[in-house]
């Protein structure tokens, strides 16, 4: 993978912004940002909303029963007020390969709708930017995997792509046109592909000879960020990568000042990108420099920005690096402070509502 300077990455970031907008942000500027998360329970996950200005008061909006020990697996963000998740229903055998249900939840109304009962638990669903479509993965008894698109207006499901791959495929997002993006693992590495209704899948680019992960499609759907492993100072570390979805460029993200690991990227509505690093996340591509407050020790893994970009949710680890990650907490960074969401249980980030 080509190493480039921050400036080059920023160029790509801004290129990726063409046509980007902030529908949530524009519509909800008057609302306070509120974090949406699930608290894992052995048999029931509880979904809460907590406003950033009332951090100690969380509101329970929904509960999700599941097979013992197996919590819900959510989409990467709340989109247009919706979150989606796969989950093993309570009566399912508590194994990762049991057929999972696919649900979509309207955060404002707490109205939950089951969309499918043949989903793969481990492959998180993805929502389109307008919240009208969703894509998920299912695997049949022969091991063939399918990328399935769901029209959320009529719940119609359509298989867009079937793959008898040696390893697996994963939906990672939508382009603005509604075309589904997915990653495919093979012995030669990770490829990014797109598939439109009625078409065969098209290779966009070869992302890595290794396992690329944590794919995040930019606002506007023109570019994508992800992590790919590389050898650095005799260690295998993940580095953020940026790519345009026209396939014209795949670029390494900013070189970390300490040469260390990078963690999941998170796009802000304006095309700025937070990249996890030792101490606080780096924010690149912003019109103005952004310096986020760091914890005394450990590192942050970005999860998602609030709609207006004032707050960033992260998974904070108090260990030194990925292999010794230590204890994990859910933290909101904003207004120059860090606020930990208290819980003795695992917290599962779902996204943001409001501004």
């Amino acid at each position: 993978m080509l190493l480039v300077a921050v400036a080059a990455a920023s160029t790509l970031l801004h290129a990726g912004l063409r046509g980007a907008s902030s529908p949530d942000g524009a519509a909800q500027q008057s609302q306070t940002a509120a974090l949406v998360f699930a608290e894992f329970g052995p048999n029931v996950d509880s979904i809460y909303v907590v406003s950033v200005d009332r951090a100690k008061t969380r509101t329970l909006i929904h509960t999700v029963e599941h097979a013992p020990g197996w919590g819900l697996n959510p989409a990467v963000a709340v989109v247009a007020g919706l979150t989606a998740y796969t989950v093993l229903p309570p009566e399912a055998a508590p194994y990762r390969d049991s057929p999972a249900e696919l649900w979509v939840l309207d955060v404002a109304t707490a109205n939950a709708t089951r969309l499918a009962r043949d989903a793969d638990l481990l492959a998180a669903p993805v929502l389109s930017e307008d919240g009208r479509m969703l894509a998920y993965r299912r695997t049949d008894d022969s091991g063939t995997q399918a990328i399935v698109r769901v029209n959320l207006e009529n719940r119609a499901r359509r298989v867009l792509h079937s793959d008898a791959t040696a390893f697996g495929v994963f939906p990672i997002g939508f382009e603005r046109s509604g075309v589904v993006l997915f990653a495919r693992l093979s012995p030669s590495g990770t490829d990014l592909l797109r598939v439109a209704d009625g078409s065969t899948a098209e290779l966009i680019f070869h992302a890595s000879d290794e396992i690329a992960r944590d794919w995040r499609v930019a606002p506007g759907g023109d570019s994508v960020a992800f992590l790919a492993p590389e050898l650095f100072a005799e260690r295998m570390v993940h580095r953020a990568q940026l790519a345009s979805l026209d396939g014209s460029s795949v670029l390494a993200g900013p070189t970390p000042t300490d040469g260390g690991e990078q963690y999941a990227p998170a796009w802000r509505w304006d095309g700025a990108l937070a990249i996890g690093a030792s101490a606080a996340p780096l924010v690149v591509g912003a019109a103005e420099a952004v310096v986020l407050p760091a914890a005394p020790s450990g590192f942050d893994v970005p999860l998602g920005w609030s709609a207006a970009g004032d707050y960033l949710a992260v998974r904070h680890f108090d260990g030194a690096r990925s292999q010794a990650a230590g204890r994990e907490t859910l933290v909101v960074i904003g207004n120059g402070t860090r606020t930990t969401v208290d819980s003795v249980r695992e917290l599962i980030f779902l996204g943001w509502t409001g501004a």
Binding site: G71, A93, L122, L185, S322, Q323
Partner: protein
Amino acid sequence: MHSLLRALPLALIVGVAFLLGTRAQLDVATACAFDPLRPDAYEADALRDRYLLALDGAATNQLFPGDSYFRLPQVEAGTRVNRVELTRLLPVEVLRAIGWVESSLTMASRSTRFDSIGPALVSFDCGHGVMQVTSGMTVPLGGGDQPSGDQVAVATSYPHNIARGAVILASKWNDAPQLRPIAGTDTGGDPAIIENWYYAVWAYNGFTGPGSKKSNHPLDPTLSWPRTGYVCDGTQSRTRYPYQELVWGCMANPAERENQQLWTAVPTTLPDFTNPQFYDAVRLNNFTFPYRDMDIPTPRPAHQTQAPSVSNVAALLLGSPRLSIDQSTVTIRTNGTPDQATARIRVTNTGTGLLSWSASSSDGFLVVAPPAGSAVGSGVPCTSGDCPAGEIEVTINPSLLPASRATATITIDSPTVTGSTTVLVQVFADFEVAAPGTSRAP
């Protein structure tokens, strides 16, 4: 164990299922050994003392040393060029944690109280009991399309179930290097080092690759990364961990009941996948059968197993059960009161320890439920449920009844004691036979 039940063809079938793994490659549509019924099983104490003792016994091959199906195989050691068979021992620490991950160390369904008898724990893919044994439990393997004695034992007797789980784990270890990679290339593949069981534990749940529906690949992109260690206390979802990390987490963080840790913590080390020595092994292009390029050194710091110093385990847990039933003839009347339409036979263990039994009917019109179960003898706590006896409920399927008067037999057998018992069933039924194509007037 009934050697007659292990005819060669059946052994071949079992062997094939065994090679397929505990859960791997199972057709979920395949019937389980007891389908559509479910056997009963004894659920021991809440502190799992009996299960933990059985785990100690299984890890040291003290439970069934003379039984080829339940005996621990010799565990191999060495690298690819100098593999040799060693002793019949495996790390009990690993076995305990697997038992916890699989079933929270329970033999019966969650509705069954401790110290009692209730429906056995059976998963949708035929995983049975404490160790969720799947291999050999997917179809009836006995004569007359009935479960075999081994299947009855695995489903109803926790010592047998745990011993069988240990056999499967040992076989996963012994699959290296022909079918699986070796962990511990720098320590002679020493099975006494717990960290060297990384691949065997992965394989216990299915040696599945990245991207698969049931992936246990540590770098799978569907699993969150980085991830804090699994702490085995019910506060974390299993969704983001590969199986082997659940087991590692439970070794390091023993489960607690009644403010007691159920076993001693062992802070075992996972492979460091930021170290190219380990990372290279699990690269995508190496995940190809028979996985020759996936060998790894021992993750450090390494931990030696502490072999349990137990003795007399088999006598203590198995005792000397004796099969007894409360009647030799029963009558079913479908033309009498409702309670006369069902006959009940109590199976009692007049000896000690744990008795496994199975019941089969000579004719299809007799319905026997449960098809197998447990009965506990003196010295085994059993304070609730149907304890200490097992109860068989006998009803008829009228559509298969040959005449309004019929007789048949039920044979009650045990895989753990010799001899069987037969109960004569007399049926008196009144039923109308309608002519085809006619219907009763309203």
